[in-house]
């Protein structure tokens, strides 16, 4: 019902002011039609009952009411189809016209019906435009003056003033209504705009988020690495399918569980358990490490996630990536086993060659002449060299397999120097060089270190110096650069290393100037092993060199003298 009424009353136009006015006009016309119908009903009822109207009066009233109804229908059409303004004007004129003939002229000019003219004046400012009330005040004034003169009575100036006062009030109220509505509309428009923008932004960010989340999920689901994300308390909040298949565990046993439950799983080896607990407990961890999960070897790298947006830099949790390392670990193990076996098998016959050559040299089976002794010495020397190379390869293989460990024990730095002289003096002397050494006073007499490995470092460095020096000295210095460190420095007066080659000299199987390999022997493993040993000892190695001026290798190592420090070392 209401909808039907609305569809009759509303005029579908885009301008809200126009629409409002036209709807108001329709309501007024609707009221006028109802009034006309009621009037008709009253007149017809009167003709059967009291008969207070004469026949001619009754005809006039009926004609007026029918005319009103027809006029309203016509104006409704105009209002709906043509123009609200014209319709409003026509309606007001129609009203004025009908009012003018609705009573006796004297009553209209200055009597009981004078008030009817206030209706178009008040309504016009609402349905036409605010100032229209003055036009209808003027029109009504002219009509009542004309009506007064037609019946020869004086016009009513009070009524005219009243008309204009009403017009003024109507104008003011219509104008303020208009203004208020306009402001309201502006506010509404702004609000609509803001809501639209917000909605759009929200929709876009939701869409972006969904795309981003979808992409991340796709990456997580499709990568071969197992990923698990822990919160600050090591509860797993997310794990991908790869992890599930890697660990061969249902996802419910991983996600929403504390990491400790996973660590206590029987498939994990005790050593791996220790490593994982260490990862949980320490803020600083090695970048990656390996664990044994059943028959699998898994490489784990963990990265802590920090909230950088705030200054507090709080730890949000940890992202842990598991990689199946089983095959690689097997290959590595095979490789290092192979190298170890080969090296061992190579060393035994070399030992025999060395021994027999020594027996020749020592004239075990009867006297030898000088040339024969010389030849035996050459066999011995070359065998030693071959043994040295095999030892390097074995060390390298062990280091790659992670089997080489540092064993700390108290040692005397002076003994290191004595030993290096014992091992190297002869070959230094044979090449016409000098090997000198010194210990700085501030170095403790006893410190902790792996004597065998330190010896190996010194032999490699001195050997290297001798190899690339034709004239002059190889100098070894043990020193204390500052508290908590001690150092080894080996310098020579040899060929030096071109600056362009300096960054690579610690690389495996690399020698400065490829051709030199044959001239000097060796695989180029010596310095690489030194560097790796120094790293194992938590030390640093640096090299300074100038072509034809010689090279200086400087190693600094943590100085461990206290028993407490020793404990720390043992636990490494």
């Amino acid at each position: 019902m209401k909808i039907h009424l609305d569809s009759i009353l509303n005029v579908p136009v885009s301008d809200p002011d126009d629409s409002r006015r036209r709807r108001l006009l329709n309501i007024l016309m609707f009221g006028a039609v109802i009034a006309a119908v009621a009037g008709l009903a009253a007149i017809i009822l009167d003709s059967f009952t009291t008969q207070s109207f004469t026949n001619s009066e009754r005809q006039l009233v009926i004609a007026g009411l029918v005319l009103t109804t027809l006029g309203v229908v016509a104006i409704y059409y105009v209002n709906r189809r043509v123009s609200g303004q014209w319709a409003a004007l026509l309606y007001l004129l129609l009203l004025t016209f009908i009012f003018t003939f609705s009573d006796q002229p004297q009553q209209l000019a200055n009597g009981r019906s004078l008030f009817v003219y206030t209706i178009p004046i008040a309504v016009s400012s609402l349905i036409l435009f605010p100032l229209a009330s003055f036009i209808f005040a003027a029109l009504s004034s002219i009509i009542i003056v004309a009506l007064a003169s037609s019946v020869s009575i004086p016009p009513n100036p009070i009524a005219i003033i009243g008309f204009f006062m009403l017009a003024l009030v109507s104008w003011l109220s219509a104008r303020s209504l208009d203004q208020a509505l306009r402001e309201l509309r502006t506010i509404n428009l702004d609000l609509d705009q803001a809501v639209t923008e917000r909605t759009q932004a929200l929709a876009e960010s939701l869409k972006r988020e969904r795309i981003e989340a979808g992409r991340n999920q796709a990456i997580l689901n499709s990568i071969a690495d197992g990923v698990v994300v822990f919160d600050r308390k090591w509860n797993a909040i997310l794990a991908n399918p790869a992890l599930k298949s890697m660990l061969d565990l249902p996802i419910e046993l991983i996600v929403n569980k504390n990491f400790r439950e996973l660590i206590e799983h029987p498939r994990l080896s005790p050593r791996s358990r220790g490593l994982l607990y260490a990862m949980m407990e320490h803020d600083t961890q090695p970048p990656s490490f390996r664990i044994e999960w059943g028959r699998k070897t898994l490489s784990i790298s963990a990265a802590q996630v920090y909230d950088n947006s705030k200054e507090s830099n709080t730890n949000l949790g940890t992202v842990t990536v598991f990689r199946d390392f089983t095959r690689e670990a097997e290959v590595e193990k095979l490789k290092s086993t192979f190298v170890a076996i080969v090296s061992h098998e190579l060393r035994t016959p070399l030992n025999a060659i060395l021994g027999y050559a020594e027996m020749f040299k020592e004239s075990v089976y009867g006297p030898m002449n000088e040339k024969q002794i010389n030849m035996s010495e050459r066999i011995m020397k070359n065998t030693q060299r071959l043994l040295g190379l095999i030892n390097d390869l074995l060390d390298q293989a062990q280091m790659e397999a992670g089997k080489l460990t540092v064993q700390m024990a108290p040692l005397k730095p002076a003994e290191l120097l004595e030993n290096i002289h014992g091992v190297m003096d002869q070959s230094v002397h044979e090449k016409g060089l000098r090997l000198t050494s010194e210990i700085e006073d501030n170095l403790p007499e006893i410190l902790n270190g792996d004597a065998a490995r330190l010896q190996q470092i010194l032999v490699n460095l001195v050997n290297n110096g001798v190899k690339f020096t034709d004239h002059g000295t190889v100098h070894v210095r043990l020193f204390c650069p500052h508290t908590g460190r001690w150092g080894i420095e080996v310098s020579d007066t040899g060929h030096g290393i071109p600056e362009s080659e300096l960054p690579y000299i610690f690389d495996t199987f690399r020698q400065v100037d490829g051709a030199a390999t044959r001239a000097h022997g060796g695989f180029g493993l010596g310095l690489s092993i030194v560097k790796q040993l120094v790293n194992l000892m938590n030390g640093e190695i640096k090299v300074k060199s100038k072509v034809d001026r010689g090279s200086t290798f400087t190693i600094t190592l943590p100085l461990v003298t206290q028993e407490a420090d020793m404990e720390k070392w043992r636990n490494l």
């Binding site: 035994t348 030992n351 027999y356 020594e358 020592e362």
Partner: protein
């Protein structure tokens, strides 16, 4: 009569070289190519002054021979035991078990000089 040295070494050439080194300083030398024959000989009553023991020999390892036979035989309580091994890392652990540990490659001269110092002066 010169002192007896027992060499337990499975590599024939090394055994030969070690034997020559020891003979050259005046030891009388017996060779055992595996742990089994070394054990038999020791049980038969051979009481060497010095035992040169390779840790990796067939049948009975040098380690077992050391703990189960040599250390339990009172007659061998005074015998000087020199362990020979190719494993440099294990060498450090072996120092507890024997008087000397020699890491292979073992030089003829080195062995000769060491044993000559160990041999009692007449």
């Amino acid at each position: 009569m010169s002192e007896l040295a027992l060499i337990v070494e499975d590599d024939e050439d090394l055994a030969n070289i070690f034997a020559e080194a020891l003979r050259s300083v005046g030891f009388e030398v017996e060779l055992a190519a595996d742990g089994q024959s070394a054990q038999e000989r020791l049980k038969k009553g051979v009481a060497p002054f010095l035992i040169l023991l390779d840790m990796h020999v067939p049948h009975i390892s040098g380690g077992d021979l050391l703990t189960n036979v040599i250390k339990k035989d009172e007659r061998l309580a005074k015998a000087i035991v020199i362990i020979t091994t190719a494993d440099a890392r294990m060498g450090e652990a072996y120092t507890e078990l024997a008087d000397f540990v020699m890491i292979k490659p073992i030089s003829f001269i080195q062995l000769r000089d060491l044993t000559s110092r160990l041999k009692p002066k007449k």
